[in-house]
Symmetry: C3
Subunit: 174 residues, 3 copies
Amino acid sequence: MASPHSFGNRLGRVVWGLVWGLLCRHSPRPFFAWRRFWLRLFGAKLARGARVYPKVRIWAPWNLRMGRDSTIGDLVDVYCVAPVTLGDRAAVSQYSYLCAATHDYRSPKLPLVPMPITLEADVWVAADVFVGPGVTIREGTVVGARSSVFTDLPPWSVCVGTPAKAVKARRSDQ
Amino acid sequence: MASPHSFGNRLGRVVWGLVWGLLCRHSPRPFFAWRRFWLRLFGAKLARGARVYPKVRIWAPWNLRMGRDSTIGDLVDVYCVAPVTLGDRAAVSQYSYLCAATHDYRSPKLPLVPMPITLEADVWVAADVFVGPGVTIREGTVVGARSSVFTDLPPWSVCVGTPAKAVKARRSDQ
Amino acid sequence: MASPHSFGNRLGRVVWGLVWGLLCRHSPRPFFAWRRFWLRLFGAKLARGARVYPKVRIWAPWNLRMGRDSTIGDLVDVYCVAPVTLGDRAAVSQYSYLCAATHDYRSPKLPLVPMPITLEADVWVAADVFVGPGVTIREGTVVGARSSVFTDLPPWSVCVGTPAKAVKARRSDQ
């Protein structure tokens, strides 16, 4: 199967992989500004205070957009074949996987189908959560550890399970 | 607990670990032929066009058999204590785990119990799926992302969940 | 968000990360005594025969306590922000994640909430299991692969699923 990506895309990702692997992956945790510098150089749109931990995997930084004081924790995989957007103060905990593409299994060649992911402001995705292609998680919602999100989630809820569903309201003044 | 594996097995895996770690794990993605060369040298049976991505973990290549144009994606773990077989055009996506052994917990020593895994032709195992010991996935079936497969799955189905179950038919002419 | 950890804690973890990464992570598997030496130097309480595999991630060794002949398998993540305790002969298989902290999502700042994890004697946690903050798994219980444990589990049971629940008794004389 030939790559579905353009030559420019593939070249950009090779260079990006070298840059991140050599200069960022082993950088000290508090060097958030250093990593922001390189991410922005490769096209990421990062607001002030956006924090990306060193062991994050980012497929294509030019498809990543992060709001103010948002966070992507260690060992998160951002498979941003399509755009991935985090709102202000959104946080993704370790080992979670934002998977912004699927394959069309109705075709024998399994063509790649990119679909964007959006986490709105004040969303918290806890550890080892899978967020599937095309999903939007609305403002303020918390997704419990180990959940798998295949459909959009409503705002200001606590959602858990596979597929993740709202089980109660989240109130910050509780 | 002493290792349940023979000295030859352990020595072979040490050498294999060095070879893969030094020569293959950091090789460029398109170098599929290069990695096939080393896998075959260590006993893997790979048909033409079989593609193993660089960050795959393979416990014992001599227990791996892959059909034509089959694919094992990045960060897949093939724990092939027992034989693991992929049919023609079978594909395993990133982070999945083919776990071909369990432990007998009825014995206080938890002895290792290897059990083979078979993915028949045109199977697609999507991202972060667990395939347990002894499982056969029949021809043409798709397993959705994040599912866990503990029992055999029927052919030409779409299966999801934990434990994974068929939820609909897969038709390539749909 | 400023780190919730003291300067000493952070400094200790930086030094520990260097020691483990340079001296232990790539050490040969059978060098258990070598890794015990370094773990103990950093405050881990390890009984005789406690075995930690090389690719284990341990957040703070001074919060880890392991009984005799207990085992932590490769690629397990021990996020021991709070104490994590394994009883005699307890075993944790590859890819499992002992997550001894959560965040209080009722507060907008998501403050860290450490909560200890205890696996009593003869517990076996199989591959790719999530064990959440505050959980105690009682003596002799087996947790099936890919389960997620959010609440305490009873003794001498076989528990599976998400959330993990007892499905039958475990008898060693079965």
